[in-house]
C-alpha cells in the first residue's frame, strides 16, 4: 500500500511578532511570520510510516502546493521519513481557495499515480485534517470528490493487521473503518508521537530530488487554478475583539453567588458571541441572486439535531430580507414525522430523501443523494451545521455543485458589495475566524450557483416551534447507482460516554493554591457535582499546569497554553493565580468564577465573580449552596 502524503507550509501562528500586525489595515504581514510544516501533517507522516512499514515495495510520496519556498517542507518531511517529493508550484495557482487547491492537487495526484507509482491504484492519500492558517478542513474532502474516491476523516489510529483499519470518532460515535476500494483518502487528527528530524537524514535531504511541476506539467487548466478558479474571495480581514478583561464582582455570600451564577448561566448561549444583526432592506432593488435558502437537516436519534433547527431559524431571517423561502433537505432511510417537525420550526419545504443506504451517514451515498437535487434547484444559499457529518459532506457537495463553501462561520448577513465596476445586491456575507483565531475574515462567494456555508452549533438560536406553520413535503427516492459506501464501518462505542473537558459546559479547575492531592480530589469533584445538579449540564474537573506538575492529576485535564483551550458556559477557578499562560486557555468562557486566597491574584481580572478566602472553607460552603439552590 503506497502513500501520498499531502503537506502544507503554513505561517507559525503560535509566535506572531508584534510588528507583523498591520493594525490599520487589520491584516497580518505573512512574510514576517516564520514558516513551518503544518503540525497536523506531521501526524499524517507518522500514519503513512506505520502504513508502509514492513513492506519494502511500498512507496511514500510527499506532495505540496505552494510558492517555490515550499520546497522547505518537503526537505523537512524527508528528514523525518524517507520518500519522494513533489512540489507543485506555479504563479497561476497563487491565491487559490479550497476548490482551486483541490483541483490542482487532484491533477498532481493523477500524475503521481501515473509516473511515480507506475499506474498502481493501491494507494492512500494521507493528510492532516486541517491546516492552521485556513483551518477549513475542506481541501481533503474536495480532493476526494475530484478523484471520485472514498474518504475516512478524523482518524485517530491505524492498524495494518489483520486488514487496514482506521479508528475514528464519527457522527455516531467511535468506529473502526476498513476501506474496501482504493485509492482512498484519510485525514488524521493529532494522535501520534510525531517523527523527529534526524540530522543525517536532513543532510541527505539537501541532495534529494524534488520533482517540481507546474500547472502545465499536470494538465491543470489555468482558469481552474488560483484566484481565477476560486469560488470564494476574502472581502475583509479584521482583528477579533482583543483583551477579554472583565469587571469582577466580589462576593462573600456563597448562596448569593450561586444565585447570580445560575441567573447568568440561563442567559448564556455557550458558544461564540451572538452578534447583533442589522436589518437589511432591499428597497425595491433587484437582488443579484434568486432562489431559496436551503439547510441540511441532520438527525440525532429519533429527532433532529439542534444545529439544524438553529439554521432554519437563521435561514428564515436571512431569506425574509429578500422575500425568499426556506427549504430543509432531510436524508435518511425513512423520514417519518421529522418532515413535519422541520416545518413546525420554520421550513417552507422539506425535501425528504429516502433510501435504505442512507440509514447511517456515509459521505459517498449522501453526496450522491443530495448533490443532484441542489444542482437541479440551484438554491441561492445552502447552510450546513459544522458537525462531524457537515464537515465531511458539505465540502464534497459544494465541489460537486461548483460552489464556494465557507466553513465555521460565526456570523452570516445579507449585504451589498460595490467595488470598481462590480455591484452586488443582497449577497451572503460570511464571517469566520482564521489563522488559528488570530484574525476574523469576511468572505463572499463568487462564480457559484449557490453560496454555501457551515456554521458551528450554538452560534444561532433555535427558533420558536409553531405547529400551525404549514409547508410542503417532497418525497424523493434517489438513484444511488454504484455510489455505495466503499468502506466497512464497525461501531466500537456508539455513544461517546467520556466527555472531554473541551466539551464540558461546566468546568471546575484547581491550581497551585490547592495544598495536596487529597484536597484536589476532595474539594473539586463535590463542587462539580453540585453545579451539575444545580445547572443541569455536564461538569468536569480540570487543572492548571502547576497542579499537573504537583501530581494532582494528569495532562489530559490541563487547561492552558500547553494544555487544552476550553470555552465552557461556566468556569470556576479554584486556587489558580491567573498567569497569562493559563488564562489564554479559558478566557473565552462565558462566566468565570474565581476563588483565591490572594485578593491581588491576576485571575480576578478575568472573572465575573470572585471570592477571596481559604479554599478549604469557601469551596464546601459553595457546595452546600448549590444543593440548596
Amino acid at each position: 500500500m503506497h502513500c501520498i502524503v499531502l503537506v502544507k507550509q503554513v505561517p507559525d501562528v503560535s509566535n506572531i511578532p508584534e510588528d507583523a500586525w498591520d493594525r490599520e489595515k487589520g491584516t497580518l504581514r505573512r512574510a514576517l511570520l516564520d514558516s513551518i510544516l503544518n503540525p497536523l501533517d506531521l501526524h499524517a507522516l507518522s500514519f503513512a510510516r506505520r502504513i508502509t512499514a514492513g513492506d519494502p515495495t511500498a512507496k511514500t510520496v510527499y506532495l505540496t502546493m505552494g510558492p517555490p519556498q515550499a520546497r522547505e517542507v518537503l526537505a523537512d518531511c524527508i528528514s523525518r521519513a524517507p520518500g519522494d517529493a513533489v512540489l507543485l508550484t506555479d504563479r497561476v495557482m497563487g491565491g487559490a481557495d479550497t476548490v482551486a487547491t483541490a483541483y490542482s492537487l487532484a491533477q498532481a495526484v493523477r500524475r503521481i499515480e501515473r509516473d511515480l507509482l507506475g499506474g498502481s491504484r493501491d494507494y492512500l492519500i494521507v493528510t492532516g485534517m486541517q491546516s492552521v492558517d485556513g483551518d477549513t478542513a475542506q481541501v481533503p474532502p474536495q480532493l476526494a470528490e475530484d478523484l471520485g474516491i472514498d474518504q475516512v476523516c478524523y482518524a485517530q489510529d491505524v492498524h495494518t493487521e489483520p486488514e487496514l483499519t482506521f479508528r475514528r470518532i464519527g457522527a455516531q460515535g467511535t468506529e473502526d473503518v476498513v476501506p474496501l476500494r482504493f485509492p482512498a483518502l484519510v485525514t488524521v487528527t493529532a494522535c501520534t508521537d510525531t517523527l523527529y528530524r534526524s540530522f543525517h537524514a536532513a543532510r541527505a535531504a539537501r541532495s534529494a530530488t524534488i520533482h517540481t511541476w507546474s500547472a502545465a506539467d499536470v494538465d491543470a487548466a489555468p482558469d481552474r487554478c488560483g484566484i481565477k478558479g476560486s469560488r470564494t474571495t476574502v472581502y475583509r480581514i479584521f482583528s477579533p475583539s482583543e483583551d477579554r478583561a472583565k469587571t469582577c464582582e466580589m462576593m462573600s455570600d456563597p448562596a448569593e453567588l450561586v444565585r447570580k451564577v445560575k441567573a447568568k448561566y440561563r442567559l448564556a448561549t455557550g458558544g461564540p458571541a451572538v452578534h447583533e444583526e442589522g436589518a437589511y432592506a432591499l428597497d425595491g432593488r433587484e437582488p443579484t441572486h434568486r432562489g431559496g435558502f436551503w439547510i441540511l437537516a441532520e438527525r440525532e436519534g429519533d429527532g433532529i439535531k439542534s444545529v439544524s433547527l438553529e439554521l432554519i431559524g437563521k435561514a428564515h431571517e436571512l431569506a425574509a430580507f429578500l422575500g425568499e423561502h426556506v427549504a430543509a433537505v432531510l436524508p435518511g432511510a425513512d423520514a417519518g414525522d421529522l418532515a413535519a417537525e422541520l416545518i413546525a420550526y420554520g421550513a417552507d419545504t422539506v425535501y425528504a430523501i429516502e433510501h435504505p443506504q442512507l440509514a447511517q451517514f456515509s459521505p459517498l451515498p449522501y453526496r450522491a443523494a443530495i448533490a443532484p437535487l441542489v444542482r437541479e434547484h440551484k438554491p441561492q444559499v445552502m447552510l450546513f451545521g459544522a458537525t462531524p457529518m457537515g464537515r465531511e459532506l458539505a465540502p464534497r457537495i459544494a465541489y460537486a455543485c461548483d460552489s464556494g463553501l465557507t466553513a465555521d462561520c460565526t456570523k452570516l448577513e445579507i449585504g451589498d458589495y460595490a467595488k470598481g465596476g462590480q455591484s452586488l445586491v443582497g449577497i451572503l456575507k460570511q464571517t469566520r475566524p482564521a489563522l488559528g483565531g488570530n484574525i476574523m475574515a469576511t468572505i463572499m462567494t463568487k462564480d457559484s450557483p449557490t453560496q454555501m456555508a457551515t456554521v458551528r452549533p450554538g452560534v444561532f438560536k433555535v427558533p420558536p416551534r409553531d405547529p400551525a406553520h404549514t409547508g410542503d413535503v417532497v418525497r424523493i427516492t434517489p438513484d444511488l447507482g454504484d455510489s455505495a459506501a466503499g468502506v466497512r464501518v464497525t461501531s466500537v462505542e456508539s455513544f461517546v460516554s467520556k466527555v472531554s473537558i473541551r466539551d464540558a459546559k461546566i468546568i471546575v479547575a484547581g491550581g497551585h493554591g490547592i495544598r495536596n492531592k487529597s484536597d484536589f480530589d476532595g474539594l473539586l469533584q463535590p463542587l462539580a457535582d453540585g453545579l451539575e445538579a444545580a445547572l443541569g449540564d455536564d461538569a468536569k474537573v480540570a487543572a492548571s499546569r502547576h497542579a499537573v506538575e504537583d501530581g494532582y492529576t494528569t495532562h489530559d485535564y490541563q487547561v492552558g497554553q500547553t494544555g487544552q483551550t476550553v470555552a465552557p458556559k461556566l468556569y470556576v477557578a479554584v486556587g489558580i493565580s491567573g498567569a497569562v499562560q493559563h488564562v489564554s486557555g479559558m478566557q473565552m468562557s462565558d462566566t468565570v468564577v474565581a476563588i483565591n486566597k490572594d485578593p491581588r491574584a491576576r485571575i480576578f481580572n478575568y472573572a465575573d465573580f470572585g471570592v477571596v478566602g481559604d479554599l478549604e472553607t469557601v469551596v464546601p460552603q459553595l457546595v452546600r449552596a448549590t444543593k440548596e439552590a
Binding site: 501520534t192 540530522f199 500547553t562
Partner: protein
Amino acid sequence: MDGIDILVVGAGPAGLAAGLRAKQAATQAGRDVSVVVLDKAPAAGNHALSGAAFEAACLDDLVPGWREMRTPFVTGLVPVERDDMFFLRAKAANRIPPMVVPSRMHHAGDVIISISRLVSFLAEQAEAAGVEVYHGYSARTLIVENGAVKGVRLGDVGLAHDGSPKGNHIDSEEIRAGITILADGTRGVISTQFAEHFGGGSVSRVYSLGMKAIVQFPEASPFGTNRVMHTLGYPMRPDVFGGGFLYAMGEKTVAVGLILGLDWKYGDLNPQREFETFRAHPFISRLLKGGVTVATGAKTIPEGGYNAIGALSAPGGMVVGDGAGLVNMEKIKGIHYAIKSGMAAADTALEALRSDGSVGALDGYRQRLEGNGVLEDLRHARNYRQVFKYGLFVGTPLSLVSSMIPANLGIHRDGAATRKGARLNRPDPGRMDGATFVALTGTLHREDEPSHIEITDPSRCITCEADYANACTHFCPGQVYRWSGSEVVLSPSNCLHCMTCTVKCPADVIRWAAPEGGEGPRYKQL
C-alpha cells in the same frame, strides 16, 4: 553521505561569521570545503539576545556591500546620535557629564541593532554562500579522542518523562568533522566541556544576567530615536554590579534592559523584579510612557575578561565568541569580537585543512586574535569587571585605571558570593509578573520530555531555605524553580536557556543539559 570538513556548533554571530568566512574563502580559492553550522534554536536568531550598540565595521569585510542590502536587519539599523549616562537615585536622576565617562564607553559611531535580526541576516548570507545551516539540533557532548576534538554528539530525542524511549525515539546522533569550531555562546554546554578538557583561565569566569524588554509605542516614543542611554545606581545597591539601558530601536520602539552582576550577595534577589523596579523609576517610566511591552528575554553575559579566557584551541577544535569569553566589559561589547573571532577561526581552519584530508595545528588562531585587535582590547579591560567586587564606590574610580593595575585580579565564583542570611526584601512593584515575562519570551518545550535540569543533591536545598532563601526560586528569570515546602519542584518547560542557574546556585548542585532541539525561547527582535 560526505564527511564534514568544518563543523560549527552554534549559529550566533560568531558561528555564522566563521561558517560564512570559511565558505567564502574556500570558494574564492577554488576549494571544495563542506561547512556545517548547527544550532539548538527553532529558527535563526531565536536564542540570541543582546542590547545592542554595535560596531558595524566588522561586517564590511565579512559581507561586502551589506549596507546597501534591502533586508529587515539593514533597514532597521539606527545610528547613535545621542548618548547619555545617568545616575539614578530612588526618585531622581542625575546626568553624568560626558567628560567623566571614559572614552571607551562612548557610543558615537555605533549602530543600534537587534542581535536576533543580525543573526537572521547572517544565516541567510551563509546559506546563500553554500554553508549548510541546521536549526533544531542540540549538541550534548563534545567528542574528544586521543586528545583531539572529533566532533559532537547530539542528545537523544523522543524520550518519555521517565527517560524510556517512545515510539519516535532517535538515538543520539554523532557528528564528526575534520575541525570543530565551538560557538555555543555564554556558558555553552560544549565550550564548557572544552574548557574542562583543555584548560580554563587563571581567574574564575563570572557572569552578568541581562533582562530585556521591547516596548512598542502607538506614536513616537517619549525617549526619542537615534539615542542610547545607560544608567547606574537605582535600583541596585552599591554592592550589586550592574546598570540599565534604553536603546532606541526606531521611532516607535525602545529596548529597555537591566544588567546585574551575578555575584550579588542576596539570596532573595529576583532579577525580573529588579527589572520591573527599574522600569517603575519615575525617570524611566516617563521615557516609556504609553508603550506596551511586546517581547521579553534574558541571557547571561560572560564577564571574566582576558584572564578568564582558557584554551582557545586544541587539536581539531577552536572556541569563538562568548563561549570563549571574548566580551569587553569596559565597552560592554562582545558582538563584533564574536564576529572577528569567527573569521579568525575560519581562516585558521582553512589553513589547517590539508588536501590529503589531515588537519594541521590550530595555534594560528590565537595569533590572528592578536593581529585583529581582539585580545589587545580585552587585555586593556582585563581588571575592569573585577574591581567592582569592592563595590560601586571603590570600583568606579578604580575602573578608570583598571588597565594599569599590574596584578591580575581574581574574583569569586558567582554562586559562592551569596551570603548566608543576606536579604534584599525588594517589595513587589506591582507591574509585569514573572509568568507574563516568561510568556513574552515565546519559550516552549515538550512538557513530557525528561527534565534537562537536574538538582544533583536535593539535600542541600533544605539548608538553603534559611541560608539563601532557596535562591534558585528567586534568581531564575524563567520561574523554573518553585519551593514546595520540602523540596524544589521544577517547571523545566519555562526555561529561557539563560544559564544563570549553572553559576548562581550557592551549593553548585544544578546541572543543565541542552533539551531537545528546536525548543526554548523564540526571540525575533531581541
